[in-house]
Symmetry: C2
Subunit: 260 residues, 2 copies
DNA sequence: TCAAAAGTGTTCATTATACACCCATGA
DNA sequence: TCATGGGTGTATAATGAACACTTTTGA
């Protein structure tokens, strides 16, 4: 990409194209030589995969395959391959573990504390992804990978610095949830307002007034009434809605104002 | 750090401590061996150093030292040393270039597109830092490093993907500025409300009503009247204020509410 | 008929926005 | 005396928060 940029040395107008190409090759060789001398670090991506089911927030974890962390749970991670964009690497991990692509996925933060990996310096880039448990069937056939109730993790000891990473990601998720309709990705395509509110309450970890919550969402005008109702509920069924992502993209609010 | 964790194998209560230590050493050797096999990537940090002077937002850039980018400007960056936390690396770059520590500095994002560096795969972690030009004297003795008007950079071609990084950082800064009083770091310790507003207008790139702006800031109660006035202004001098960071830390607002 | 959640409006407080005049200073 | 920005208040609109009763359904 950068190597194909117009070079500033191309000012020497009279030189034929070949010389430019040769010069460029020369320069790239120089840069390659320079980069050779840089210290190198192993890179991993760790995916914090959030799900939502039975009215609580879940995180997908795997048993650590390192003997030193035997019995502990860890985030889903892998090394970045050579010449792989880290976004791709994260998507690959997600695909390998859950069989899914086209899932919400976003870079959150890079962790580089020297002692964070017992095998020496390893840098990790944390990605957050959200998927709805009920909607997709995961390829969870062995018992080495499991959905964990987020709340239950407070006491548990995770491998590496994964507790720290998880902590960063939940805070990121909370903030992001308040400004973007990410939460919808954790629900089935059609959902009741109760489920939606329950999702928000789980993630933001506080109760909300039901009437105000409904008012708020209806006022946004991004909910489409499917005409369908809940089934199999032991009480009066609620309406099912879809989220109008298109309309949201067109009308989403611009951030202005100073507030701190 | 991680290596000092209590190991789960310590369940074998009867074993003397020494055996544990030996076992731990064994395990760490295994992990070290494993990490040996990982692909390794050169890591750099790039600092996007924002300043504010003469009522406009500035960015500190250096002439690229790569022949291939001859004549182009680039962000201030360097390789991460072995066993150096990237936050430290960024602080080091800042110190080396500006002579300053205790400056606002925050990780923004990691860039990993395979073609982003002409010398092969190089990963960079972008840091944003804010410092007030007027207050500190920079060690800018040569003409290879300069403050650039942020607006003027729109047309200029930067080295590497530094345009992209800069773009990410300004967006990050805008958002962050609306929620935290970062901007104060770009001003001298004592500042007039006009300067403050001018700063916000430059960064957020929009005009604000002067009366409402003042009302807003006074309502926060984080401004301390120093009793001093501006000098050397060709008009009625304004009062000079300091920002009460302590009070801010204690009283800063909690984020609640859904808004998108 | 009961339990559980659906659905629905109003009031009050806070915050955002729009807007115009006199004042103090240096040139 | 003029140009420049300092300093100030009010009215209106929009938004957020608190709060209770009737309805529908399945068990």
């Amino acid at each position: 990409m950068a190597a194909t940029h117009e070079l500033s040395v191309s000012k020497e107008k009279s030189s034929p194209k070949k010389i430019h190409k040769d010069l460029e090759k020369e320069l790239i060789k120089d840069v390659l030589g320079l980069v050779e001398t840089y210290p190198r670090v192993p890179i991993t991506v760790d995916c914090v995969i959030f799900g939502f089911d039975e009215n609580s927030l879940k995180v997908l974890l795997i048993r650590s395959d390192l003997e030193i962390y035997k019995g502990k749970w860890s985030l889903l991670g892998d090394f970045a391959k050579d010449s792989e964009d880290l976004d791709e690497a994260a998507a690959r991990v997600l695909k390998e573990r859950t069989g899914m692509d086209d899932v919400y996925l976003e870079q959150v933060r890079t962790f580089s504390t020297p002692g964070r990996h017992p095998g020496g310096r390893v840098l990790t880039v944390a990605y957050c992804s959200l998927l709805n448990i009920a909607h997709h069937q995961l390829k969870i056939l062995d018992n080495e990978i499991h959905w964990h109730d987020f709340k239950s993790l407070k006491e548990k000891d995770l491998a590496f610095d994964h507790k720290l990473i998880l902590d960063n990601c939940i805070q990121w998720l909370q903030k992001r949830m308040m400004e973007h309709p990410l939460g919808i990705n954790l629900l089935p395509t059609k959902f009741s307002l109760r489920k939606l509110q329950s999702l928000y309450e789980s993630i933001l970890d506080r109760q909300m007034d039901r009437r105000n919550f409904r008012k708020k969402f209806f006022a946004m005008n991004f909910l489409i009434d499917t005409g369908e109702m809940e089934t199999d509920v032991p009480h009066r069924p609620g309406k099912l809605y879809k989220f109008d992502f298109k309309k949201y993209e067109q009308n989403k609010r611009r951030w202005t104002g100073i507030d701190f």
